[in-house]
Symmetry: C2
Subunit: 190 residues, 2 copies
């Protein structure tokens, strides 16, 4: 009989992720030292690195969690809704900035980039799947291939993440997102 149940393991793993997310948000990737990760998670380094091989693995697990959460929204409501949620919820902005801080690493370390893309792939897949469904239903413009529409939406999302992470004013971006949404839709009248 195992000493710790699967539920307990999952709860402990989530406790680590939640603490680490706030730690990255407050101190950035470099600033999230092992000592600080211990403080934020309330666990020893031994416990933390029992669940995650290293800081990089922890960071990528958080990226994956984001991607999965966003993918759920995408499946139901589309990528523009993910952007609207980002605009509304101010709390995630500092965490999102951590993604920008690792951009140099992503660019210069192909292995890290491959792992990152693997962990964030759920969002890309969900975006394409939804667009394919919408295209089949005649809800999308038909003069631009679906992969281009998907890349377009992803590029705007990257811009929004960057914008928010820099703390630039974003209260008035609602009409911009309307425009983005409109640009992929089928015209109302032909």
């Amino acid at each position: 009989m195992p000493r710790v149940s699967t539920d307990q393991l999952a709860a402990r793993r989530q406790q680590i992720l939640t603490g680490a997310r706030t730690c990255f948000a407050d101190h950035g990737y470099e600033g999230a030292t092992v000592r600080r990760l211990e403080e934020y998670t309330g666990l020893s380094r031994g416990a933390i690195f029992h669940y995650f091989r290293d800081k990089e693995a922890l960071f990528l697990a958080l990226a994956e969690q984001d991607a999965t959460r966003m993918a759920d929204v995408v499946a139901e409501q589309g990528l523009v809704q993910v952007m609207r949620d980002l605009l509304r919820g101010g709390s995630d902005r500092s965490w999102l900035g951590t993604r920008l801080e690792v951009s140099r690493r992503l660019r210069t370390d192909p292995e890290f980039r491959a792992r990152w893309q693997e962990h964030s792939g759920a969002l890309t897949a969900a975006t394409r799947a939804r667009l394919e469904r919408q295209a089949a239903a005649g809800a999308l413009r038909d003069d631009v291939p679906v992969p281009v529409l998907a890349q377009y939406l992803e590029l705007v999302l990257e811009g929004l993440v960057s914008h928010l992470a820099m703390g630039l004013p974003a209260d008035d971006l609602g009409p911009v997102l309307d425009l983005v949404e409109n640009a992929v839709r089928a015209p109302l009248m032909r």
Copy 2:
């Protein structure tokens, strides 16, 4: 009679900026130490900081140089052309990444953010001015206010900068930029 002519001063200033740009690109903002800045510019720290108060001032001067250069392209050909130039020219990508690395600082240090926005204001001004001219000529869609179109284009530019800085594949983004350009234009037929 001055020991050094104005031309010589300007040339020296440019020598510092050119070296510093490569230094930031190679080592990032934090990694651009005074010693490395000396190496890359071929000048002593005394000479460098005679022209620029500190590393921050050097960084902001480079941001201003970018903004001015991009503003020139915007005035003639628009912000989407700036994006197409970014796609073509691979060399600037590592420098652009430095902008992302300071995102935490931009978000958490209002004074730095204000200085940054001041230094990058030329691009915003040029973008709005060009869009106003195009609107007056009937070349833009008229159902969305010009400031929204300007914010839209700037958001996409931010996404592209982020995308390139992360070293993500960008060879196939041409059609995405066509879509962006199309989204602000007046429809061909009414």
